[in-house]
Symmetry: C2
């Protein structure tokens, strides 16, 4: 029994016409003797409609009831899909989180999957049923519904595919047909990537690529589940396969796989601060205690016992961070603060960096040739990120795309 898990997002089930098309998609798998397990999101707009109702009652709603409400949308779309399958003579049934035994912890609204019981799912698969499961939700030990947070349906799909040891987990998208070397809306010559490793995908997700959520990629990596990112409605186009680096065919490997950009960061510089031990902790302790995530930090070489320190934070936290630093001025003894919202974080990602040298130099040279100034640099094993002027973002992408032969 070859099992394939397919996950259809909200725009893919946005209306009855689309749901009927998906049913046809699934029938094709049946005809190939494949056992499909299908995870669906709520019809596009439904969850937002429910959130609006909730917010007009309470800004701090009861979390258990919150989950009970926002989990209903996926139940509706699951059962609608079963009906559409029945209409074209495909045996199918829906199993909710309680029946499919998707056990989570008790953190309502942001639950983590603890275990998945496969017995019930396999029972129906072996009887020739398509099993449809509402995404984004599980149950806790008290049998209360929990939800998994944003992008939770991808997570459901990967976890279920892993538990079932499925051949692969297909994440079908209505708006994109795979992972691209860079954002095609910013750079038209962006190319679809055939294969990408879990680590590369993780870096790309955390650096601004919005196609997959980090959590889902992490879980796929843990469970060694192959992810196919594909278009929902054009079956002909090959998508992108996210898998173990070691198993990717050699001919597909490039030093740099993709370029991401992130325009949601802001930069703060603290000028003229005393360069004494413990100063960094004094600065960042109150910031992190406020729940603000600091990404890059760069400290200048000290002159005459003074130095400058620059760091990036999410743009939405800029004012809050500024306020914290001002409140602590007496403790920090700095000269002044400078903020900059007009920055872009440009990153190149690739497993090849582990074995190839000189990649950073090529990146810096390429940007320099395009007259793009770099104000901050950060590196990890498989990525290099630079902070540049926001207005030069497109130009930087184009320059790097050519430099690393991604076209």
């Amino acid at each position: 029994m070859e099992i394939i898990v397919q996950k259809y997002g909200g725009t893919s089930v946005a209306n009855i016409t689309k749901i009927k098309k998906i049913a046809q998609n699934i029938k094709k798998l049946i005809n190939k003797k494949i056992s499909p397990v299908v995870i669906v999101s709520a019809m596009a707009g439904e969850t937002d409609k429910l959130l609006k109702l909730i917010n007009s009652i309470s800004l701090l709603p009861n979390e258990r009831e919150y989950d009970q409400i926002i989990s209903t949308g996926e139940k509706v779309s699951s059962s609608l899909l079963v009906m559409a399958l029945n209409e074209i003579n495909v045996k199918a049934l829906s199993l909710d989180a309680s029946k499919a035994k998707i056990l989570t912890d008790n953190i309502h609204g942001k639950a983590s999957i603890v275990s998945i019981g496969t017995k019930e799912i396999k029972k129906y698969l072996s009887k020739g049923f398509v099993v449809v499961i509402p995404g984004f939700q599980g149950i806790n030990s008290n049998n209360d519904v929990t939800t998994l947070g944003r992008g939770g349906s991808d997570l459901s799909a990967v976890a279920i595919a892993g538990a079932l040891k499925a051949e692969r987990c297909e994440l079908l998208k209505d708006d994109v047909d795979g992972i691209y070397t860079t954002d095609p809306r910013l750079y038209k010559k962006a190319k679809k990537i055939n294969y990408i490793s879990y680590q590369e995908m993780l870096e790309m997700s955390s650096l601004g690529s919005k196609v997959l959520q980090s959590k889902a990629v992490e879980m796929a990596n843990q469970l060694n589940t192959k992810i196919y990112v594909k278009s929902t409605f054009s079956n002909k186009k090959k998508g992108t396969i996210v898998m173990d680096e070691k198993k990717i065919p050699l001919r597909e490997k490039k030093v740099v796989s993709g370029i991401t950009h992130d325009l949601k960061q802001a930069k703060i510089s603290i000028i003229g601060i005393k360069d004494t031990p413990g100063i960094a902790s004094k600065i960042f302790k109150p910031i992190s205690e406020s729940g603000i995530i600091v990404d890059m930090i760069v400290q200048n070489i000290s002159t005459e016992g003074e130095t400058d320190l620059t760091f990036t934070i999410p743009k939405e936290d800029l004012n809050k961070t500024f306020k914290i630093l001002k409140e602590n001025k007496s403790k920090l003894y700095y000269y002044k603060l400078i903020k900059d919202e007009k920055i872009a974080l440009i990153s190149i990602v690739g497993d090849g960096m582990k074995t190839h040298t000189g990649i950073a130099t090529r990146m810096f040279t390429s940007l320099a040739k395009s007259k793009i100034n770099i104000s901050m640099i950060s590196t990890s094993e498989i990525k290099i990120s630079c902070v540049i002027n926001k207005n030069l973002c497109k130009k930087a992408i184009s320059s790097l795309h050519k430099e690393f032969g991604l076209g």
Copy 2:
């Protein structure tokens, strides 16, 4: 612990403003040291919206999935009500059919309640929680959601009140504030009834009064649960109490309690049929086998071995019935068929008929005085029904309302 079960219908929870008002209603009970169990319907329009989605996929949808879809609306409104209660500092939680242990049989879409486990509900009541339960649904032995059919939330409320031995079951309505002597839309002098017996209410429901469903009244009778029919939003007005006939205060008792009308019936006459044994069964067997419900039947006195036979059926089944009779003409040997859609079924209902005589005569005389011809008559222990011309319906109601002193 005095328990009161309240049920709020779809128009009573149609929007957030109304839900907040209901929360205030419930808080008043808490302040009186009453333990409320609240049953809610789906927000008005929600169930129809879901039905529309279902019907655009399938005309004969999978019943299990159908129930899973149309049961979601009540879950949403239950949890919204809990949130609204929390906002005004009232402890509350929702218990779905599985948690509240509302066990039904396995007839999806029209399930009957088999048993209700009260342990979980009572546990939370004793801790001072308001328990909110989605109406209209239960679970079968397989733990699949089932729904109870039209008016199912009233049924849920009565069954839960009975199981909890609640003080009473309040059915709160947004559009009416009680049971009336006759339909106030047709006759402005209609008066609200303070007390009505289960049997009277059952007759009135089956004879065209739409305020309560027969099933809910039957169950209240079985469980001896007092029903209060009241207005949701005007607390000052007293509603109607439906209860055991023997316990109704004597001064409240009238010979006739109410007058109903039903305009949804049609009449068929079979003229010139052979008056032989078994002829009625030959006529009605194929009709009832088609699922058509025949209500009244009148057979004329036979002359020269021939007779006429008239009966009523729901107007929507008129053509179907006519077709069946025509197909069977060779077996039935009748002369001709006459149909009449312009009829009204007028009924008077009252426990007093059991002990008072001459009620029928008073009815016929009153109608005769108003020059209304009666074409069919049917009686039971506590009701008398007459078929008259549809256009004279209002006149008949007015005439009977005066005759029996209901004004």
